[in-house]
């Protein structure tokens, strides 16, 4: 069981990190779009 848990936890960390990075990018663009007319 522990092997699967290890792999799962690694993948989860990677996924959460990626997701919030994408959210951050998403907000960056929203800011740039708001500044432009």
């Amino acid at each position: 069981m522990s092997a699967e848990l290890k792999v799962l936890s690694v993948l989860l960390v990677v996924w959460v990190g990626l997701f919030f990075y994408l959210l951050h990018l998403d907000r960056e663009i929203r800011k740039i779009k708001d500044r432009q007319p």
């Binding site: 989860l12 959210l23 998403d26």
Partner: protein, 238 residues
């Protein structure tokens, strides 16, 4: 609308992103915890009979197939926009085609990596030229050449047009690669889950997880693609 107010309903306007987030977590958890381990018949010398034997490695299929699926989708999207470039010559279409190719290359590489992990444990060597993997590798070579071409042309309009032509030519190769190469080389790859007649060989739970993984990866591709396109447009002010 002031940005604060827009932030307020920011959460609701982007519900599907949170859906993607939770969905992926569920799929990950399901493949490793909830799903029953797939059994496969293994020859048991002692009792001279086929005995089901646990096959945990099969889980990689839940990620390998969607990635090569997304790589193919990305190439399709790149070709559609390349045709658009030739028809209308629009810079945006060129940007969309290039971004789709980039993601196609990325997912293609990931599909090859997961594929070779599968090959490593399944057939003993990291790479043994099984046709489905060869096709994806050739596709990656084609798109490597696509970016070499893009970097070799200074003027923007010519670069857009010539890379569009190359992308379309490359897509003409796909039918030859995907359908003909596997048939030529006796295939080591397990009969692909969707075997030729499209009949699923997976039992119900695995199928649910597999299909959701497929859709989630496609949504992820769409989001990455949209993000990259809007980042470049915002940065270059057009």
């Amino acid at each position: 609308m002031s940005s604060a107010q827009r932030d307020g309903n920011w959460f609701f306007r982007h519900w599907w992103k949170w859906l993607l987030f939770l969905g992926m977590i569920l799929v990950l958890a399901a493949t490793f915890l909830w799903l029953p381990v797939v059994q496969r018949p293994a020859w048991d010398a002692a009792t001279n009979s086929w005995k089901p034997e646990p096959w945990p490695l099969f889980r990689i299929m839940i990620f390998h197939v969607p990635m090569s699926w997304v790589a193919t989708i990305a190439f399709l999207v790149a070709t559609i926009h390349s045709i658009q470039v030739l028809r209308t010559g629009s810079r945006l279409a060129d940007l969309k085609a290039a971004t789709a190719s980039e993601l196609g290359l990325l997912f293609g590489i990931m599909a090859t990596v997961t594929g070779s992990i599968w090959a490593r444990y399944e057939w003993g060597s990291f790479w043994n030229w099984d046709p489905r993997e060869t096709s994806i590798l050739i596709l990656i070579l084609i798109y490597g050449a696509y970016f070499a071409l893009r970097s070799a042309i200074p003027t923007e309009t010519t670069r857009a047009r010539l890379s569009a032509v190359y992308a379309i030519l490359a897509f003409l190769m796909v039918p030859f690669l995907v359908f003909i190469v596997p048939r030529m080389v006796e295939s080591l790859h397990p009969a692909p889950i969707l075997d030729r007649r499209g009949k699923m060989q997976m039992d119900k739970e695995l199928l649910v997880v597999f299909l959701s993984s497929l859709t989630l990866f496609t949504i992820l591709f769409g989001w990455l693609w949209h993000l990259k396109v809007s980042i470049v447009r915002a940065r270059d002010r057009w």
